[in-house]
């Protein structure tokens, strides 16, 4: 019997997923820890549309007239800024959370198209350094595997204050993923649940951060761009403080941004959508007179060249992808559906990155599962995806008459909904109305 056809009504408040969550909590006595980012419906870039050229704007010829894509990150203070061929980068994901093969594939794919990849908690592996043309090294509260030689070997340093999936939260790498190698890199016993701190151990507040940035610059002889990454919450203030502290690049990660292991309640209920954070960040940079001088990278739910073009139009200098990159490698692929189902999930739903039994060989440290992912093939797939994203964005930018992706501007956008118009600060389509503007 199909309940709906018999007039049965499902509760909007207590839907099936909610009922299941209560039942699961009642049975197990623990809250749900999972990977991925926010799954609830949120205002997003889909709620914006680009205004192609017609009479009042002049389009560029598709496949003929140039639309450049290069971007330089870290021009404010660094002797060696990062020069990327396309403004889409790979967000920080750790070896530990991901298999060595997955990290290598990310490095290969990003390198092939001339963009950067990023380390994560637990330090830098020789494989990812070796296979990444441009490698951003994360400097995290846990300082697991933090070695000054790796800072010097990196192309940029990203000081992580938070991430969109869990602003204000630390991390937990569960024991089943702590192999001998992962444990060794983090100086901890094999098999224990590893807590990653939520606060940096040797500084508190923005004034201290300025001194920390000074120290990192001194250690690396002012060569490396220094990024500051924040989870999207009080973005306007956080970006201003990051700039005052001396950041070359600010990374803002919205609540759709992924994680390898966080409480579901945290993922779904803390932080703000990427769409709401981005205009706040741009406003902060503009008010300080450093928009484009301090570059802005935006992440959290970026899936396509359309998302990228819209983010750039709102004022970002680049976007970063994480979940989409894993999907490009093979995450949630239908060919693993039977195995996902054995784990109580299904292709298209799998989010148990914390669990270490990923059939796709990505979010696991199991030797047999990891071996399923061929780094060269994964790299090829990711490079393809990054090229498609870039070409999609170019297509949209040309339609708007832009000869460079970074020429896209808020005037090229309208919003489909009142809420997205208010968040993105662009007019509701067909009107001149920006809710909240001028208040």
């Amino acid at each position: 019997m199909e309940p709906a056809t018999h007039g049965l009504r499902e509760s909007a408040t207590f839907d099936r997923a909610t009922i299941h969550a209560i039942q699961r909590a009642a049975e197990t006595g623990v809250y749900d820890i999972r990977g991925w980012g926010a799954k609830r419906k949120l205002p997003h870039f889909d709620d914006l549309l680009l205004l192609g050229a017609s009479m009042s704007r002049y389009p560029l010829e598709g496949y003929r007239e140039r639309c450049d894509t290069d971007v330089v990150l870290g021009t404010r203070h660094a002797k060696h800024p990062l020069r990327l061929a396309t403004p889409v980068t790979i967000a920080g994901m750790s070896f530990g959370a991901l298999s060595a093969q997955a990290k290598e594939a990310l490095g290969r794919g990003a390198g092939e198209v001339g963009t950067s990849t990023t380390t994560g908690d637990g330090g830098m592996t020789p494989e990812e350094r070796g296979h990444s043309k441009h490698l951003v090294h994360q400097y995290l509260p846990s300082r697991y595997g933090m070695n000054p030689d790796d800072l010097r070997a990196a192309d940029a340093i990203e000081i992580v204050l938070g991430q969109g999936a869990k602003p204000g939260g630390g991390g937990m790498l569960l024991g089943q993923k702590i192999t001998e190698r992962v444990a060794g890199m983090r100086t901890l016993p094999v098999g224990i649940d590893q807590r990653s701190a939520c606060r940096h151990p040797d500084w508190t507040g923005p004034d201290d951060l300025a001194i920390k940035i000074l120290e990192l610059r001194e250690i690396t002889d002012w060569e490396k761009p220094i990024y500051v990454k924040v989870g999207a919450t009080r973005t306007y203030y956080d970006v201003k403080l990051a700039v005052h502290a001396g950041a070359d690049v600010v990374v803002v990660d919205g609540m759709q941004g992924g994680t390898a292991a966080t409480q579901d309640v945290f993922i779904e209920h803390v932080g703000i959508p990427t769409l709401a954070a981005l205009p706040q960040a741009v406003q902060a940079l503009q008010e300080l007179g450093v928009h484009r001088e301090v570059q802005l990278i935006v992440s959290g739910g970026i899936r396509s060249g359309a998302d990228m073009a819209k983010a750039l139009a709102l004022g970002a200098d680049a976007v970063a992808i994480g979940t989409a990159a894993l999907i490009a490698l093979g995450d949630n692929h239908p060919k693993y559906d039977a195995e996902y189902r054995e784990l109580g999930s299904a292709a298209g739903y799998f989010d148990d990155y914390q669990d270490g039994r990923d059939p796709a060989g990505i979010s696991t440290q199991d030797a047999e599962l990891s071996a399923r992912l061929d780094p060269a093939e994964g790299g090829r797939r990711l490079a393809n995806f990054l090229r498609v994203m870039t070409m999609e964005a170019q297509t949209l930018a040309r339609a708007c008459g832009k000869s460079h992706l970074l020429h896209l501007e808020p005037e090229d956008l309208v919003a489909l909904t009142i809420e997205s118009a208010a968040m993105a600060r662009v007019p509701l389509a067909g009107t001149h109305w920006i809710p909240g503007a001028g208040l």
């Binding site: 006595g29 623990v30 846990s142 300082r143 933090m146 070695n147 000054p148 030689d149 800072l151 937990m172 569960l174 024991g175 983090r186 100086t187 901890l188 016993p189 224990i192 649940d193 807590r195 701190a197 151990p201 040797d202 500084w203 201290d208 001194i211 920390k212 000074l214 120290e215 001194e218 250690i219 690396t220 002889d221 002012w222």
Partner: protein
């Protein structure tokens, strides 16, 4: 003959660049006047004497060098040190030796809060006392406190070992007193000797992790 750098005359940048790029092995730094990031990121087997007080992150991420501060040190002295020796003749502010992976940090005076926070293999010997939350989440290495320890010593400790001669105001979650066996007396004697201390190892007590929080369990809810 030590190479002399006067921070009243030249900026910290010049000092650090010189320490990172020249072969001289003996350095004397005058007039630090609380400057930050003094002598940080050294990779060579230098000997550096800093004549005065320093600000944050002095000798940060040190590798191989011997750095002595003839004064007090601000926040995060020898943070993330990998190897070498850092000695503070005076007192040290909070987060001394934070996350350090190796080497020896000696503080002749007192250290403040979070001394040895998240330590990952460093040895720290403090002549005086340490403030609250010292060795918080300490993973590896030894913290020796010749004076007293503040609140929540060794909270959420992993495998770091702690020796305290004086009183401990309170122990943090999962930190317990442990038996002082012969091997502990021996390693403590070695640490005290390396730090040029005269205390008797027999006067110390040992603290370590009860290892009850190593796995996330709902039964531990009140400890989280």
């Amino acid at each position: 003959m030590a190479t002399l750098i006067d921070l009243a005359e030249s900026p910290v940048r010049e000092l650090n660049q010189a320490l990172h790029s020249t072969a001289a092995t003996s350095w004397r730094v005058l007039n630090p006047r609380g400057a930050h990031a003094v002598a940080c990121g050294i990779r060579e087997d230098h000997t550096v004497d800093v004549e005065g007080h320093v600000g944050y992150y002095c000798a940060g991420m040190n590798q191989h060098a011997t750095v002595t501060v003839h004064g007090n040190a601000g926040t995060g002295v020898a943070e993330n040190m990998m190897s070498g020796t850092v000695r503070v003749r005076g007192n040290a502010s909070q987060s001394a030796g934070a996350t350090a992976h190796g080497g020896l940090l000696v503080i002749d005076g007192d250290a403040s809060a979070r001394c040895g926070i998240s330590m990952k293999g460093v040895d720290i010997v403090v002549g005086g006392g340490v403030g609250h939350m010292s060795a918080f989440m300490g993973q590896a290495g030894r913290l020796v406190v010749c004076g007293d320890a503040g609140d929540a010593l060794g909270d959420s400790l992993y495998e770091a070992r702690i020796y305290v001669r004086g009183t401990v105001k309170s122990l943090g979650a999962d930190c317990v007193e442990k038996e002082m066996r012969a091997e502990h007396l021996a390693e403590l004697a070695e640490l005290l000797k390396a730090a040029e201390r005269e205390e008797d190892p027999a006067d110390f007590r040992r603290y370590g992790s009860a290892r009850q929080l190593y796995h996330f369990k709902v039964a531990n809810m009140t400890s989280y």
